[in-house]
């Protein structure tokens, strides 16, 4: 029962209160880069969720059975980057062969994730928080869902920004950054969320 409550707390925290983008400021690059259209934002969000979940699982195994065993915890960052890069490569090959439709849907976003700091962030946070295997995977997936939520909301707002009447010299990134800042403020409201 405690485990379930913990997982629920992790889920709510990862999606709302400690949203990767709005309160931890991880993964800002794809958040700003591929949020011009809702379609591409959804693609990116799903791809990130997918990779974050898998990376959490694999990195947990690597950390627990390789790094800790040899007393090499200080090499976590390097090892995790290695794991994530190979994992993304592997997933890309696997999808291209077995699920071409999903491969074309994710398209260019999959390789982009290699350098997404939210992925590295989630695996390092897993270690920091001493999560067990299940909690790690749940945190990875729900963190990805939080990213998906954030980027889709942001893309929807950016699509509607076309109709907004703002000064011309704010066009492009300035107005996008202001929007992101306001959304982060709104998400701060969730930090008061204390259920358990």
């Amino acid at each position: 029962m405690d485990q379930i409550f913990e997982l629920l707390a992790i889920t709510l925290g990862a999606i709302l209160a400690n949203n990767f983008i709005f309160s931890q400021f991880l993964g800002i690059c794809p958040f700003l880069g591929v949020s011009k259209k809702i379609d591409t934002a959804v693609g990116m969000g799903i791809a990130v969720t997918f990779v974050m979940g898998l990376a959490s699982a694999v990195c947990y195994v690597v950390n627990e059975f390789v790094l800790t065993r040899f007393g090499l915890e200080y090499m976590q960052t390097v090892a995790f980057i290695l794991v994530i890069a190979s994992l993304v490569q592997f997933i890309e090959m696997f999808l291209q062969k077995s699920m071409p439709s999903l491969y074309t849907a994710l398209g260019v976003y999959l390789p982009l994730i290699t350098t997404n700091c939210a992925v590295l962030g989630v695996v390092l946070l897993n270690v920091q928080s001493n999560y067990n295997f299940i909690s790690s995977v749940v945190y990875g997936i729900t963190g990805g869902l939080g990213f998906l939520l954030a980027i889709v909301l942001f893309a929807s707002i950016r699509e509607r920004l076309v109709f907004a009447d703002y000064p011309k010299n704010w066009d492009g990134f300035p107005i996008a950054l202001v929007t992101a800042g306001l959304m982060a403020l709104a998400f701060m409201g969730f930090s008061g969320l204390k259920v358990w």
């Binding site: 390789v66 007393g71 076309v162």
Partner: protein, 298 residues
């Protein structure tokens, strides 16, 4: 020291293991790709303009390879690249002249407005409000949806408020034509310079009242053309580019200046004078002939 060696060994083994897995995976999950697709892709414009109707240049290359798109599908790439693609596909090089887009409206500020539209600056949005702010149901609205659609900077809103194409920059991808809610943009041969810049199909007075540069379907151009290259079809003059030689006689008789390049008043007067002189000469010649005939009869 031992710690360092352990770190090097463990990470080295880890890296080698992942590398091995990837190497094996790349063999297992290898997808045979037709090398021609890459080759075709390298001959496309690479602008991802979407003018061909496929999602991006990759989609177009795949469609050409599959045979669902012609080798000339990518207009921006030009005839040389189309020929190269045809070679890759083992086909004859296509022949055809370079095309450019042309906006069939020169109305702009000449067209009467029914109301001031203050909404989103987009032609499609503007046409949704009471069928558009112009009296003319065929006129260019001038909000620049085509300008936004053009990836090559060839479209602009001209000085008189309707869209114009820069033929030098135009690649005939026709993305603008898809963006125009009034379907005013057509593809024309680049070498032809005379075009009817109006699409108004209304007859006579109806067309005349909505715009000062509308084609009213009077047919003067049709009568004037020596090559049978311009005809009034559905109330609007249409040029047959196969026959047109670009003599511009039609532009000189058009009372509405709807045929571009519009002739100046001076040119029109001059042409009128020439015609008058010709008519008089012909009349005099006919009279002389008649007199001669009469003389011969006597």
């Amino acid at each position: 020291m031992g710690n360092m060696i352990a770190a090097i060994v463990v990470l080295g083994v880890l890296g080698a293991a992942f590398g091995l897995v990837l190497a094996v995976a790349s063999k297992i999950f290898e997808v045979k790709k037709d090398p021609r697709e890459e080759q075709i892709l390298s001959h496309l414009a690479g602008a991802n303009c979407g003018g061909c109707g496929f999602p991006g240049c990759g989609g177009c290359a795949a469609a050409i390879l599959a045979g669902t798109a012609p080798v000339t599908a990518c207009a921006p790439a030009g005839p040389e690249n189309a020929a190269a693609i045809a070679k890759i596909m083992g086909q004859e090089a296509p022949t055809g002249e370079r095309q450019v887009a042309f906006v069939r409206c020169n109305g702009g500020l000449n067209a009467k407005k029914r109301f001031d539209y203050v909404g989103v600056k987009d032609c499609t949005a503007a046409t949704k409000v009471a069928a558009g702010p112009l009296d003319c149901a065929f006129g260019c609205l001038g909000f620049g949806s085509c300008v936004a659609a053009c990836q090559f900077g060839a479209m602009s809103i001209g000085p008189n408020g309707s869209a114009v194409v820069d033929p030098d920059k135009c690649t005939a991808c026709m993305a603008c034509a898809n963006a125009c809610p009034r379907h005013l943009i057509v593809s024309v041969p680049a070498s032809k310079k005379v075009h009817v810049a109006c699409a108004n199909q209304d007859k006579g007075k109806a067309a005349m009242s909505v715009c000062s540069s509308s084609c009213i379907g009077c047919g003067l151009c049709q009568k004037e053309c020596k090559k049978d290259a311009i005809h009034v079809v559905n109330g609007v003059a249409v040029i047959d580019y196969d026959k047109c030689v670009g003599c511009k006689l039609c532009t000189k008789v058009c009372p509405r200046d709807a045929i571009l390049p519009a002739a100046t008043a001076e040119e029109k007067e001059k042409y009128k004078a020439i015609k008058k002189a010709q008519a008089e000469k012909a009349k005099a010649a006919a009279e002389a002939k008649a007199a001669e005939a009469a003389g011969a009869a006597q």
